[in-house]
């Protein structure tokens, strides 16, 4: 059976955004800087953050009325892929995901309260999508919200919450008597002991565990009214798209280091890239990166269309780009020889980023199992 055509949509705005992002990050996000930011407690540079906001990146997919550019969410990959390529770690991912979840659940008033600040880079936002044990399935959310006489009371735990220690806004999905709801928690609502930093393999990222026990919230903290299950699923799908794009960039970055080394390092009188044992895997990695980019461009193209189609495309991207990044970083270490095994060699930064990004929001095994159910039965 011949399949339907896979249409790729790519607007001039997206192309311009990509050009600008690649140029900006190539210049600003050097490995020296990445290593410098890694040692900061927040892991990112506030000046750079403001510049990103000024470039409009934080409002790419937000409505114009809240200061955004109102591009389709698929356009976000234009800036996220180069972030992976240059190993940038800022609250961009968390803030963007939270912004879209707000948009999908909150009332107009609530949107007005947070979205303009997000678009300006003045509000660091995040969201708690994983349960305490690291499961990224919405059904496993173990935060529970109970209706009190006045307001809500939360209990339960979450993990893998990005930037939590210094976020201005934390979106917490929780189970209620009437299905899933999302709550907006402010920094003031969180006690010191509610937050525990996770020690990640990827030292450029900041991730935390959240203990919700005892958090009391006003009625207004609940975003919107109805069941939020669909919106939470959408947030996951966007995470697959974005982290899959990041992984594509990570694979490309590791490959690029490897390629330089293969062309310059000599052994036995020849550049090591002239040996087929290194040349052929290099071709394979390049092929997989190109394939990841194809999947990324397609997942971005269809992201705002049919939900089934867009979820399949985003899961495929997350699974495939994750394995591509694993393979590319693995071979990048090996082919750098003893130098690849050092802290000094930038390959380890990509290797560690890949380890983080492959596993958050569901790994390849997870997504392939879901795809099997979606595609085969």
């Amino acid at each position: 059976m011949a399949a339907e055509e896979l249409k790729l949509k790519y607007t001039d705005e997206q192309a311009m955004l990509a050009d600008s992002a690649w140029g900006f990050l190539r210049e600003r996000c050097t490995s020296d800087k990445v290593r410098e930011w890694m040692d900061l407690s927040t892991g990112y540079d506030t000046t750079l953050w403001q510049e990103m906001a000024d470039l409009g990146w934080l409002g790419i997919a937000l409505p114009e009325e809240h200061g955004g550019s109102c591009l389709p969410a698929g356009a976000l990959v234009s800036v996220v892929e180069p972030m992976g390529r240059y190993l940038l770690a800022t609250p961009f991912l968390a803030t963007t995901l939270a912004g879209q979840l707000l948009l999908g659940t909150a009332s107009k008033a609530q949107c007005r309260e947070w979205l303009p600040a997000i678009a300006k880079g003045e509000c660091i936002a995040t969201l708690a999508l994983s349960d305490a044990g690291g499961s990224w399935v919405p059904e496993h959310i173990d935060v529970k919200a109970s209706r009190m006489k006045k307001g809500w009371r939360l209990e339960g735990k979450a993990s893998g919450v990005l930037e939590l220690a210094y976020a201005d806004l934390v979106l917490v999905p929780a189970r209620t008597d009437q299905g899933l709801a999302v709550f907006a928690v402010s920094r003031e609502d969180l006690s010191y002991t509610a937050i525990e930093r996770e020690q990640l393999v990827d030292e450029t990222r900041r991730s935390y565990r959240l203990d919700c026990d005892g958090i009391q919230l006003d009625d207004s903290a609940r975003l919107g009214k109805g069941d939020a299950t669909a919106a939470i699923h959408d947030a996951h799908a966007l995470a697959w798209l974005l982290v899959g794009s990041e992984l594509t960039g990570v694979a490309d970055g590791a490959f690029s280091l490897m390629l330089d080394y293969l062309k310059t390092r000599k052994q036995f009188g020849k550049t090591i890239g002239s040996y087929q044992a290194l040349k052929h895997p290099a071709v394979e990695i390049m092929a997989q990166i190109e394939d990841s980019r194809g999947l990324m461009q397609y997942a971005a193209s269809v992201f705002e269309g049919d939900k089934g189609e867009s979820a399949v495309a985003a899961r495929m991207l997350k699974a495939y780009a994750g394995e591509t990044a694993a393979y590319a970083t693995d071979r990048a270490v090996q082919f750098h020889g003893a130098f690849g095994f050092t802290w000094e060699c930038d390959v380890q930064l990509y290797f560690r980023r890949a380890t983080w990004a492959r596993h958050v929001f569901g790994d390849a095994l997870h997504h392939r199992a879901r795809l099997a159910d979606l595609l085969l039965d």
Binding site: T271, G273, Q276, V283, Q297
Partner: protein, 407 residues
């Protein structure tokens, strides 16, 4: 070949696609009572050959082949997009493939690009109508991958060249009217490449003999061709004497690049991951459908993802902005390597998941899907070996596209 200078509107595309579909439904031949080959490299007998020639001719006469080739030589003179639509619709409806694959994909484009006016007039139309089938004479017994080392000799004698030597892996040699032939005109040339020339050799020339080669499947489809003082007209030379290497490289670019589409028409039947899934549904493993085995499901999904990647690679080529800067030719150069390796792995997997039925071959009544995967598994190597082995492909891509040193 016309470029997409006048892109057409979506409405026009849809309308045209509808028209093509309707035509195909009316005109596609019914399934014959003999087995049809899956690729042009698997023509085993005359009945298959006649059936496929008739079909190509009918497609051409309806105006659905060579649509983007110049009208003055028999083409349609239309933008490429029309041909692409036809090709897609043919694949969608699983129309039989275009038999004159070497002519359509390699000889034709080469003649159009590098041939003389007389050659274009002489050959192009009959390529499209399947009146004249073409074969390829590149590989030699001792120099399979090392085309530049070809030893078949061509010696100028008046208005002729006299050919001596031998070529192998020529598909459809016994049916072909012409061969694109690489031969050595100057053994003393400063380097081996400079001594080669490129010909359009008539296969009915006295002194040309053909020996069919039996494939590992047990069937035929290739041949070895022997030249014994075979005298071919000098005006069958393409380009100048000694330019054969450059012409051949242009031909291989057609072959290695876009194996599908391009000149028009599908040149092989397309097996997809959907077929694989259907096989898994029918295949029993320990009494349960293979499709229920989680490990098999995992592999099926992986194949479906890879297949989508291959298709997306072709799509990306249509919009320069979607290609990776510095690697714009990646999807094109990777197409043959990835496509053929994908097919080999998919066929191997399709056999291996059949459990106790896996050892049954095509003539067994209990063989799953008539044993098509068992045969396809063996046939799949023709694409991972032919037209430059996968190993050679990786060298070429590593060196030309990635700039890695020569081994």
């Amino acid at each position: 070949m016309s470029q997409d200078k006048q892109p057409i509107s979506t409405e026009e595309r849809d309308k045209f696609a509808q028209k093509v579909r309707a035509w195909l439904k009316r005109n596609m031949p019914s399934k014959p009572d003999f087995r049809l080959p899956l690729t042009f490299m698997e023509i085993d007998n005359q009945a298959q050959f006649d059936y496929l020639c008739d079909w190509q001719c009918r497609v051409y006469e309806a105006g659905y082949l060579g649509m983007s080739w110049p009208a003055e030589y028999g083409g349609g003179g239309l933008p490429q997009v029309y041909q692409d639509i036809v090709t897609r619709e043919m694949a969608r409806l699983q129309a039989p493939f275009m038999i004159n694959a070497i002519g359509l994909s390699w000889a034709g484009p080469t003649i159009l690009k590098l041939g003389t006016e007389a050659q274009k007039k002489r050959y192009i139309k009959k390529i499209l109508s399947a009146e004249e089938i073409w074969c390829q004479g590149f590989s030699e017994p001792e120099n399979g991958s090392d085309l530049g080392n070809a030893q078949t000799r061509a010696v100028r004698d008046g208005d002729s060249y006299v050919i001596n030597g031998s070529k192998i892996w020529t598909s459809q040699a016994e049916y072909a009217a012409h061969m694109i032939l690489i031969a050595r005109t100057d053994p003393e040339a400063p380097n081996k490449y400079a001594g080669l020339s490129f010909f359009l050799a008539p296969m009915d020339t006295p002194g040309i003999e053909i020996r069919r080669i039996r494939k590992m499947t047990g069937e035929y489809g290739f041949a070895q061709t022997f030249f014994d003082d075979a005298r071919i007209p000098a005006d069958t030379l393409v380009g100048e004497e000694g330019q054969g290497w450059n012409v051949a490289m242009a031909v291989l670019a057609f072959e290695r690049g876009a194996a599908l589409g391009q000149a028009g028409g599908n040149i092989m039947s397309v097996i997809t991951s959907r077929d694989l899934v259907e096989t898994a549904r029918k295949s029993l493993r320990d009494g349960r459908p293979a499709l229920e085995d989680v490990r098999i499901r995992e592999q099926l999904v992986q194949f479906m993802i890879e297949e989508r990647c291959l298709r997306l690679g072709r799509q990306r080529g249509r919009d320069q902005r979607l290609l990776t800067p510095g690697r714009e030719f990646a999807p094109m150069l990777l197409g043959k390597l990835q496509g053929s390796e994908y097919m080999r792995r998919m066929a191997a997997f399709a056999v291996s998941m059949q459990g106790g039925q896996a050892p049954l071959y095509v003539d067994d009544p209990m063989a799953l899907d008539g044993g098509v995967w068992q045969r396809q598994h063996m046939n799949s190597y023709s694409a991972t070996i032919g037209g430059g082995t996968s190993e050679i492909q990786r060298n070429i891509i590593g060196e030309r596209l990635l700039g890695l040193g020569k081994g």
